[in-house]
């Protein structure tokens, strides 16, 4: 087996394993910190797929931004000095059953579908291309996204602001 294959399986194992931790852990803090493994693993997978810029974005935004936000939220809404913070889950068995069926079907679909193949698989720097596309064909979505971010910013501020009356 090639080294690359081994590393791929290793990364896949880390990713899926920590994702499973996120889903199954009884401690919400463990869930949250396990997200780190998932995000980092996914970033590594992007590197494998030749998407260097996306990988960096993934680390920067997911790890540096979203994960920290989630951790903050967890710590602000729990009695943090208690180590054993429970993370209640209900209806595990039916959920597992449904999800199992769903996953089986998804994998089945993935295997059966004849996916289109690219002419050649390139590993080249993508940053410039992405930049060109953002300011070219995808200018409108790009601007819209900036608008969405602005709206989200304002929304977050408005929602989390303390009401003066109460």
């Amino acid at each position: 087996m090639e080294l690359a294959t081994v590393i791929f399986y290793l990364i896949a194992a880390v990713t899926v394993g920590s994702a499973a931790m996120v889903a199954f852990s009884r401690n919400i803090i463990h869930s949250a910190f396990s997200l780190l493994g998932t995000f980092a693993g996914v970033a590594a997978i992007y590197v494998f797929l030749g998407a260097d810029f996306v990988a960096a974005v993934q680390v920067l935004i997911y790890v540096g931004g979203i994960l920290v936000l989630i951790l903050f939220a967890v710590m602000l809404t729990h009695r943090i000095t208690d180590v054993r913070i429970t993370n209640r889950a209900v209806g595990r068995i039916p959920a597992l059953a449904v999800i199992g069926v769903f996953l089986f079907l998804l994998v089945q679909t993935i295997r059966e579908t004849p996916w289109q193949k690219a002419k050649e698989i390139l590993y080249s720097p993508t940053t410039a291309k992405i930049g060109d596309l953002f300011l070219g064909n995808y200018l409108l979505p790009f601007e819209l996204a900036s608008l969405v971010l602005l709206a989200a910013l304002i929304g977050a501020v408005v929602i989390s602001r303390k009401e003066l009356k109460e």
Binding site: A19, I45, A51, T77, K117
Partner: protein
Amino acid sequence: MAIGLTHYLVIGAILFSLGLYSVLTRRNAISILMGVELILNGANINYVAFSHYSSGNVEGQIYAIFVIMLAAAEAAIGLAIILAFFQIFHTIDVEAAETLKE
């Protein structure tokens, strides 16, 4: 078996399912949010994998970046809502938010 598109798609599917499981079973709003992040990551893997193996250009990555961006916005808004929720109900159990039901 050489690593190919299918492998990545399967990882994406697994992440998606785990996220879905998290969303389905959790009663804790933050846990649900974490499940959603897993789902988005699963979808993103698919985007980038297709971009790499199927189309051969970077448009898929552009979509992935858009998704990441929106995920950031969603996390910010979601957590703001959760904090507001916590201030009102003093818990973040989503079952508490049933006042609209009556």
